[in-house]
Symmetry: C2
Subunit: 303 residues, 2 copies
């Protein structure tokens, strides 16, 4: 790892008003949040979350930021700055760091994020990128997982399934949609779909102590799920149900609020797929009967 | 990695007022900083920063928090919460996570830190622990590296050298000392000694565009440096000069402020070792002559 890389990086990082002291001191000095502060961290590791032999490292860098932005969107918050931790393989560490940072800097520019600091190590192991994202949310307005109530409409943004065909490297964090929702309705709960629609919906329900009745026909199946099903031996619905890394939003709100939204242009499609019910578990509405569904997806240990 | 570990961890994390929403949602919701916010991140990796075969994993966890607290101390700030990212070897991941967290929870309790969130992955690689620390500092009162001025006294806390004998696993972050200094004098610059007294002093001088004249006899040599020199073939002074991971503070202030402090009880010894000079580089005062010294230490790529 060449020391000159850090000098290069300092030159590449734009100076933004939210960070008073950035890279180059013992810690960053950041302007305080209006409302409340939001923070999250996600790491991605070669061989687990991506394959360095297959995926461009700039995409890996972009993804490391975008997945955190998706978490901030799921809280109804606004992002401001990031801290980046790289664990680099001993071989070619400077080249790898440079390529990863191309994507990080691209995401930072796109979402007006300051790079407030970070840490870089080289070691005998695979590339690992960990990003801490800081932001803010209006006081007591954060979308939590835990406030869904019986009768609420369950909505999903965009379309889901088959992200592994390539979309998972360049997820579109639903920050704008979250802000529009925050200003037009009362979101009762939210989560982003990182590990699979059904698994993340199940988590939201568990956190709220409720269940869900779904019109499974209404689940917006992504074209990628259809294309993937041609070779995977699974149906497009199965991909939509359990594939991870969609990074779409699952939100709940009163049925009345959902009806208000129905006629509005939100920039991103938002589809109602069912309602929250008191009985726990996920249920399929089928010709007046209910059939139990089992949540499936990638179990990832996020705190 | 057992899912029950996360449930266990949630139970072990104390609820503190600074974090409104902690582990268990997409992001943490944290009370805004008074003054300005401070943030830093440091990772430690098995085989690079510690040896899991030799060092208790609880110490590794403690260290991962303490080294970040040392950075906050070097900024004159107050810590409030942490986010913890673990990359765990596939084998025995739950046991390892549990042992590392024992030390993290111990440090969190000792310094009243909320565990606001984190991420856990398992992979084919060595244990890596990355901690992001959030805190605050009074507006425009952060100690930077860049404001040392010609004539300033250079002070070092505690004693340095030989930390590898064991002290490096349980560093004492100089948070209290930093706060006392902040309230009694004007600290012009500060850095914590992570990579070696001479290397970190050289960094401080470079950031401030100045040099340092040192009374090397006054450098407080730790007893560990003496003990280590019995077998290392190096002098105690050489250890004090270049050993890393002391996590003591190097601070500068006007000579007048340094003289005021001389009679005060600060809780931690603070020793003047020289003065800032306009000529760049590190210099030894010896019988009225100046001899150039070369900074030595562990080069670690912190941003």
């Amino acid at each position: 790892m060449e020391h000159s890389f850090l000098a290069y990086l300092r030159g590449r990082c734009r100076k933004l008003t939210q960070v008073t002291v950035g890279i180059g001191d013992d810690a960053a000095v950041i302007e305080p949040a209006t409302g409340q502060q939001i923070a999250c961290v996600d790491q991605i590791i070669d061989g687990v979350d991506f394959l360095s032999g297959k995926h461009p490292l700039a995409d890996v860098g972009y993804k490391s930021v975008a997945i955190n932005l998706s978490d901030i969107a799921a809280m109804g918050g606004n992002p401001t700055s990031i801290l980046v931790t790289l664990a680099l393989p001993n071989q070619n560490s400077t080249r790898i760091a440079g390529e990863v940072y191309e994507g990080i800097l691209e995401a930072a520019a796109e979402f007006n994020l300051a790079i407030a600091g970070g840490d870089i190590s080289t070691y005998d192991g695979p590339l690992a990128v960990s990003v801490t994202l800081l932001g803010f949310v209006d006081r007591d307005k954060a979308f939590l997982r835990s406030n869904a109530t019986e009768g609420d409409a369950i909505m999903v943004s965009g379309a889901v399934g088959g992200s592994i065909r390539g979309r998972h490297l360049r997820p579109v964090p639903r920050l704008d949609l979250a802000q529009r929702l925050r200003h037009s309705v009362e979101v009762t709960s939210a989560i982003d779909i990182s590990d699979g629609l059904s698994l993340d919906l199940d988590r939201l329900c568990a956190a709220s102590g409720v269940g869900a009745e779904l019109d499974t026909d209404k689940i917006p199946v992504h074209k990628d799920a259809e294309l993937l099903s041609e070779s995977s031996g699974r149906t497009p619905f199965q991909h939509a149900w359990s594939d991870g890394e969609d990074f779409e939003l699952l939100v709940t709100m009163s049925q009345k609020d959902a009806d208000i939204l129905a006629g509005q242009e939100l920039g991103t499609p938002l589809t109602q797929i069912g309602n929250i019910v008191g009985r726990t578990g996920l249920w399929q509405r089928q010709q007046g009967k209910l059939k139990r569904l089992s949540p499936q997806g990638y179990t990832h240990e996020s705190l």
